[in-house]
């Protein structure tokens, strides 16, 4: 079905151009897939960009082991549907090898540990470009990202010395051992993503739709009760009617109270929302520049 909104079509054309540019400029690229709506839209666009060929690069999932089970089920079905190749690397393996140490305490999360697993996978698979579904409207450090974002041999981002990016000429030149992070959805907003999902009728994990779930209320957030979440003595689970606005680890992704059971209802809810989607992520709340600090060391 062709896209109706002119500006959505413009965003689609731009993203397809960037995806093709990655396939043309790099030898070993991968699309980082988390099972969240942004990476779903990105892989959907990749399918479009190279049709009727298969997507010329694999999807890669860095599995923290703390995923919602629904995410994994969806992932495997989606990969089949778009006829893509999937590579999975596990944070648990990095922990077993002693590369990283599990966090302890009530706010323990494997979010930060992903970085080590990701950088190890990039080295192991000799990847020269990793595409991600990050958007500039998500977070203030991401607002400064380029489409083609250079990483040094340690996977570090240097926000103060980024390459100027002019017109639609992307400079993907690099030395051995360095790589690029590429963000084809840079100019999309959360609402654009939802409207696109609606117009293109893209299937989503059911976590995004309203359901009954046992949650823990902590610091103004509703966290899903699970074996991975360390509970304080005073904390008790409560059944609530919720859905998720973003999908990450069970330990750090907050649910929102919602009755939205269709894409139309979600679009209406997002358009009316007065809180950003990252507001449901406790990983961003650790400090004012939490995202910038993580990105500098190689996080997405």
């Amino acid at each position: 079905m062709p896209v109706k909104n002119i500006y959505l079509k413009e965003l689609e054309d731009e993203s397809i151009y960037v995806l093709r540019e990655v396939a043309a400029q790099f030898e070993r690229s991968a699309l980082l897939f988390s099972g969240g709506k942004d990476s779903i839209v990105l892989s959907y666009l990749a399918r479009k960009a190279f049709a009727p060929s298969k997507i010329p690069f694999p999807l890669m999932h860095i599995d923290t082991g703390h995923n919602f089970p629904e995410t994994i089920t969806y992932r495997d079905e989606w990969v089949k549907k778009i006829d893509a190749r999937l590579i999975v690397r596990y944070v648990q393996d990095s922990i077993n090898k002693g590369r990283v140490k599990e966090e302890t305490g009530y706010n323990a999360s494997r979010n930060l540990l992903q970085t080590a697993t990701l950088l190890d996978s990039i080295e192991e698979l000799k990847l020269d470009a990793c595409m991600g579904g990050a958007r500039r409207d998500e977070e203030k450090a991401r607002a400064k990202e380029r489409f083609f974002s250079h990483r040094d041999e340690f996977g570090q981002w240097n926000p103060k010395n980024q390459r100027p990016e002019l017109w639609d000429l992307f400079n993907g030149r690099k030395n051995m051992g360095e790589h690029f992070r590429v963000f084809p959805l840079s100019n999309w907003t959360e609402l654009d993503i939802w409207q696109y999902i609606k117009e293109e009728e893209i299937p989503l994990p059911n976590l995004y739709f309203t359901h009954q779930r046992e949650v823990i209320e902590r610091d103004g957030q509703l966290l899903a009760k699970s074996d991975y979440l360390n509970l304080r003595e005073t904390e008790k689970g409560k059944m609530m009617q919720v859905r998720f606005r973003t999908i990450g680890d069970m330990t750090c992704t907050g649910a929102v109270l919602s009755e939205a059971s269709t894409i139309d209802e979600i679009v209406a809810e997002v358009a009316a929302s007065r809180v950003t989607e990252r507001g449901t992520r406790s990983d961003d709340k650790r400090s004012e520049t939490a995202m910038e600090d993580r990105k500098k060391t190689g996080y997405f």
């Binding site: 062709p2 109706k4 909104n5 002119i6 500006y7 413009e10 965003l11 054309d13 731009e14 397809i16 151009y17 093709r20 540019e21 396939a23 043309a24 399918r47 479009k48 960009a49 190279f50 009727p52 060929s53 500039r136 977070e139 203030k140 450090a141 607002a143 400064k144 926000p159 103060k160 390459r163 100027p164 990016e165 002019l166 017109w167 639609d168 000429l169 400079n171 030149r173 690099k174 840079s186 100019n187 907003t189 609402l191 654009d192 109270l257 919602s258 009755e259 679009v267 209406a268 809810e269 358009a271 009316a272 929302s273 007065r274 809180v275 950003t276 507001g279 004012e288 520049t289 910038e292």
Partner: protein, 430 residues
């Protein structure tokens, strides 16, 4: 948390034909760019509660009066510490009329290269002038860059009107000065608005403090300005970006040329010529994942299938036989230098131009431009960081190009330092 706190909502849903406007904001340090953007976002209700709470907290911690809207765009640690914008920050907001992409670019002289970056993808530039100081060296520089980089619409916002008693005379004096200066530039459309970003006068809502101003507010202007004619719809240019060749039986003979239309309208059945080979064929179909199209216009990412099996690869260009781009190895262009290491005459650089890669040698620097007077400086040929000048290059192989004024896509190129891989120059072909 969601439903009942609606405000800017439903109007966005029922607007099927909104288009996209990309603009940049530029001005000197402290002209109030970040505040203006904060104001646009805040007054169009594009700031979310948690963002607002976060900057309110930061403002209080820093002991500032009121909520500092500039903190919304100054995302990096160093920027917050120094209170200046270092890098281009992209911001998004929508109204029922349009979706907007803002490139918030640095005013500081050492970050001017980032303004060039922001300007290269913009249709419109907002130039901010502090009403107390009038036109400065930075204003001239930014206007020149906007003009050089082919921005056809400029909105001059004379800001901080509250600090000059909302004086009509101050506004008119600055307007006259700017008009005099800008006659030397190639900007088609210049408009002036007296504003106060801090208190919101004439940004989204009409100012009650300046009854003498009969024009529109900034937002109204942004929503209604026509930019559709900015693309070249005449001269057909299709740089081949990627070859699609499915490896399966169903599409055995499929050979698709994927790319983005850089100029003109391509129609099914059109006769096209491939450069550099010169072979002529016909467009068998224009494919997209959503099915074939009858015609495709600039900006669209499509896949062209030709009737004949001819040898075409990335970097080649499909054009009309009777309307070909220039073709050659000796190219004159205006260059904006982006790197601390100066341009070296006789030096070799890598080039990216459309989907082509090549190398070049710098043959000559003809002159440098004095950005205050626009005069040519013929006796100083050092092109360093933030300098703009005219140069000649010779490329390792022929390029197919147009003048930048005729086509922004086929007339632009970047120069890359082969040792560091940094993008060091932005070239606009004359």
């Amino acid at each position: 948390m969601s439903k009942n706190q609606s405000s800017n909502s439903n109007t966005q849903l029922s607007a099927p034909k909104r288009s996209l406007l990309r603009f940049l904001t530029c001005g000197s340090v402290d002209d109030g760019k970040s505040t203006l953007i904060g104001r646009l976002l805040y007054d169009t209700k594009s700031i979310f509660e948690d963002q607002y709470e976060a900057i309110k907290q930061s403002s209080e911690q820093r002991g500032e009066q009121g909520v500092n809207l500039a903190l919304l765009t100054d995302g990096l640690r160093a920027e917050r510490e120094q209170g200046i914008t270092i890098d281009v920050a992209y911001r998004y907001f929508s109204t029922p009329e349009r979706k907007f992409i803002i490139a918030d670019t640095p005013g500081h002289i050492q970050y001017t290269r980032n303004m060039v970056t922001g300007a290269s993808s913009a249709n419109l530039a907002i130039i901010l002038i502090d009403a107390r100081h009038g036109i400065t060296e930075q204003t001239n520089r930014h206007s020149l860059i906007a003009s050089l980089i082919g921005i056809k619409h400029v909105v001059v916002c004379i800001n901080k009107m509250d600090l000059v008693g909302y004086s009509k005379e101050v506004f008119e004096k600055i307007r006259n000065e700017f008009e005099e200066f800008s006659t030397k530039l190639q900007i088609v459309d210049v408009q002036f608005i007296p504003i106060s970003a801090l208190s919101g006068d004439n940004v989204v809502d009409k100012s009650k403090n300046m009854p003498w101003y009969g024009g529109s507010t900034l937002l109204y202007l942004l929503e209604n300005i026509h930019v559709s004619g900015d693309e070249n719809l005449i001269d057909c240019r299709f740089p081949v970006q990627y070859i699609i060749r499915p490896i399966n039986d169903e599409y055995h003979d499929y050979r698709g040329y994927a790319g983005k239309i850089a100029g003109g309208i391509f129609k099914k059945g059109d006769s096209v010529m491939a450069l550099p080979s010169g072979f002529v064929s016909k467009i068998k179909s224009i494919e997209t994942a959503d099915g074939p199209m009858e015609e495709a216009e600039p900006g669209m990412s499509v896949t062209l299938l030709l009737e004949d099996d001819i040898d075409i690869s990335r970097g080649d260009m499909l054009v009309r036989e009777n309307n070909q781009p220039e073709n050659g190895q000796d190219i004159d262009m205006m260059i904006c230098w982006l790197n601390e290491k100066k341009l070296v005459v006789g030096g070799k650089y890598a080039i990216k131009h459309t989907t082509q890669d090549a190398r070049c040698v710098i043959k000559d620097v003809h002159y440098k431009i004095n950005i205050n007077t626009l005069h040519r400086i013929e006796d100083d040929k050092n092109i360093g960081l933030n300098d703009i000048g005219r140069i000649s290059i010779r490329t390792t192989r022929p390029l197919f190009f147009d003048s930048y004024r005729k086509n922004r896509h086929t007339g632009s190129m970047i120069l890359i330092d082969e040792a560091t891989n940094e993008t060091v120059g932005a070239g606009m072909i004359i």
